[in-house]
């Protein structure tokens, strides 16, 4: 993955823990008369420590009175931080924003990636170069791509989009103030579309050409082939794309930080950005940690469903 994707403490490993637990449940079995648990123990304990230490610290901080602006007020707070958090309208707004962002980016990247994969599978002049170009946005750092979009694409005065609108005789749009969430979604989708394309294109290449020809002989046109042959073939790859993207999309930060700073108001503040606001703008470590724990729980709920779905898909 490219550099600079910010992941809150304890968040990422915890998401994977669900997968780990599924595995360790079966690993106590004997394979060829050998108990494998002791052989796995070093690796599993290392991963466990890697996950549990930040997680435990986050949970501990979330139960403390810990605000850097008020050094005198320390001590055990119980569930006070959570109480404040859950009565804070910003939390619910941030959750909604997070889900909207994740949902729309997933829709755009999966649908767009599938269509592009089909397109790039066709034979045409310069296909190799076109593929590389289409995939390259993924290798641009999020901060950089957000800056490029902000200053060169969506700038109301000298951005490419307003130039296009102008030449069509339409009014220029001030993207980040009138359509803030849409703008962020567009930027993030632009970054993740190549990832979906890369995975799906690879999957496309394993599609048996004979199957397509058999379908042609059976009377299937391009659309029928897409829905009856290509799409079922891509099902697994699509579920993998959804799972991996979701893990990263839940933690979008740089794009928001660079473009809208979570605003206007809370319009583009997602959970990750809210935690940042609480921790580093309000200096309320306890409250930020509580937000982190909530994010972990949310990610795990999502992950449980996803892992189930993907595992089922991979088995069949």
């Amino acid at each position: 993955m490219s550099a600079g994707r910010v992941i809150p403490a304890g968040f990422f490993p915890a998401t994977f823990m669900v997968t780990d637990m599924n595995k360790t449940r079966t690993s106590g079995r004997t394979i060829g008369g050998l108990r494998t648990l002791s052989l796995q123990a070093p690796a599993v304990s290392l991963l466990f420590l890697w996950m549990i230490v930040p997680l435990a610290m986050t949970v501990w901080f979330s139960l403390q009175r810990y605000n850097l602006l008020m050094p005198g007020m320390t001590g055990f707070a119980g569930l006070e931080n959570y109480e404040y958090l859950f009565t804070d309208p910003a939390l619910w707004s941030a959750m909604g924003t997070t889900l909207l962002m994740v949902g729309w980016v997933l829709v755009i990247t999966v649908v767009g990636g599938t269509l592009l994969a089909v397109l790039f599978q066709q034979d045409f002049m310069g296909r190799g170069i076109a593929r590389v170009l289409a995939i390259s946005p993924f290798f641009v750092m999020p901060t950089v791509s957000a800056l490029v979009w902000k200053n060169m694409m969506m700038h109301p005065a000298n951005g490419v989009l307003s130039w296009v609108a102008e030449s069509l005789g339409l009014p220029a749009v001030d993207w980040f103030s009138s359509l803030p969430l849409t703008s962020v979604i567009i930027i993030v989708a632009w970054q993740w579309l190549p990832f979906a394309l890369l995975i799906l294109l690879t999957a496309m290449q394993s599609l048996d050409e004979d199957q397509v020809e058999a379908a042609r002989m059976d009377g299937a046109g391009p659309i029928a082939i897409f829905f009856f042959i290509t799409l079922p073939h891509l099902k697994r790859a699509i579920s993998v794309v959804i799972m991996i993207e979701m893990i990263f999309l839940l933690t979008i930060f740089a794009e928001i930080f660079v473009t809208t700073s979570g605003g206007p108001g809370l319009a583009t503040t997602n959970l990750a950005y809210l935690i940042y606001i609480r921790a580093l703008l309000d200096f309320d470590v306890g409250m930020a940690s509580a937000g982190g724990v909530v994010a972990i729980i949310l990610a795990n709920i999502v992950a449980i469903f996803l892992v189930r779905m993907v595992a089922k898909n991979l088995e069949s």
Binding site: E213, R216, G219
Partner: protein, 381 residues
């Protein structure tokens, strides 16, 4: 009724000419086999007939109508692929009914037709399975069933048995022959295996590097190969070739001088080669006979005992010859053997590899496959 005619068909991929002008007629209800070494263009030719590949030039006629511009689904053909090409996410029933589903046939009607085909192929218990849960032979049958359901005028098979093990291959071969009779359909079958061609075909088309070498019934190709390539390709083990010299030729045949110096007369028309010169004698392993008084001699290099038969690999000069002998011959490796050949089974080839015509046509050369049956079998035809 379903006939197929190819007129001067060619196919080029960029600069490589894969099919170089093929003419062919396939009659109604005929079982035609394209046979040739790998890469000779058999699949390409079949794919052009199917409409999956366009012909660079020439005409494809089905029942007399030009089909070059007609799409693969509308030619009334069905194809069985070497890889089976079953749709992995569909059940057997859905695989077989896919074409009807696309054509908008109602569910009940579809089920009825699928069941009908499944019955012919003994697939009824498997209809709810996915292809992954089937054995190779079962997948093969599903692929055939998918073709049958479409009720095509011509069936196309591209090496359908090459992914099966030997025993299953024999069984499927018999089943395909039975199917051909039951469905009374025209079938075109591609294979590189000359045994499949010999056992199933009414008519064999031998191909080499994109050109037709010979078209004929299996027995015609065996007894009257047009050239050295066909002679070597048809028949197993391969025909032996021995350099000989033409001594004289008259109405009784050609007299040739064998490597040992002895002469023999063979019933072949040598009029075109009256001036004499080098020829090549072709004798199949089963027509070389061990004989103390035989005209040729060689040393046994390898000896393969198959029980009923023994294959002797005999070095004679530069040639390694194969002799099929009785299972009980007492020879051992490195023994020297003398042998001769049955002269009316011998072939002669000129310097260009073309056969010299035989004086007598073999009585079975015109045999059709249905002639193998006793007359009582054919009453209901």
């Amino acid at each position: 009724m379903a006939t197929l005619e190819l007129k001067q068909i060619t196919k080029s991929f960029d600069d490589t000419h894969v099919i170089k002008g093929v003419d062919l007629e396939v009659n109604d209800r005929e079982f035609v086999v394209f046979v040739g070494p790998s890469g000779c263009g058999k699949s390409t030719l079949m794919r052009m007939i199917a409409g999956l590949e366009s012909a660079t030039s020439g005409d494809i006629l089905i029942d007399g109508a030009r089909m070059n511009e007609v799409g693969p689904a509308d030619r009334g053909l069905a194809m069985v692929f070497q890889s089976y090409a079953l749709y992995p996410h569909m059940t057997v029933e859905d695989n077989m009914g896919f074409s009807m589903r696309l054509a908008g046939v109602s569910k009940d009607k579809r089920r009825e037709k699928v069941l009908e085909a499944a019955k012919i192929l003994q697939l009824e218990p498997l209809l709810d399975r996915k292809p992954k849960a089937l054995s190779g032979g079962q997948r093969q049958r599903v692929a055939i069933g998918r073709a049958i359901v479409r009720n095509p005028s011509i069936f196309l098979f591209d090496e359908p048995l090459s992914n099966l093990d030997a025993a299953l291959r024999v069984q499927m071969r018999i089943e395909l022959a039975r199917l051909h009779e039951e469905l009374d359909a025209t079938m075109i079958y591609v294979t590189h295996d000359q045994i499949e061609a010999m056992t199933m075909a009414d008519k064999i088309v031998v191909l080499q590097s994109g050109e037709v070498e010979q078209v004929g019934s299996p027995m015609e190709l065996y007894h009257h190969p047009r050239n050295r390539f066909v002679a070597g390709f048809i028949g197993s083990p391969k025909m032996n070739f021995i350099d000989v010299e033409l001594v004289s030729s008259d109405a009784e045949g050609v007299t040739i001088k064998l490597p040992g110096g002895e002469t023999r007369q063979v019933p072949i028309d040598g009029a075109a080669h009256a001036s004499g010169g080098a020829l090549e004698l072709g004798v199949r392993p089963e027509h070389l006979v061990l004989d103390e008084q035989g005209p040729m001699e060689g040393r046994i290099q390898v000896l393969e005992r198959l029980g009923g038969q023994t294959s002797l690999y005999v070095q004679m000069g530069d040639n390694l010859l194969t002799i099929m002998a009785d299972g009980d011959v007492a020879y051992r490796v490195n023994d020297s053997v003398r042998f001769g050949f049955s002269s009316d089974r011998a072939h002669l080839f000129d310097a260009d590899g073309l056969s010299l015509a035989k004086l007598h046509r073999h009585p079975l050369a015109g045999l059709r496959r249905q002639d193998n049956r006793a007359p009582s079998d054919t009453v209901d035809q």
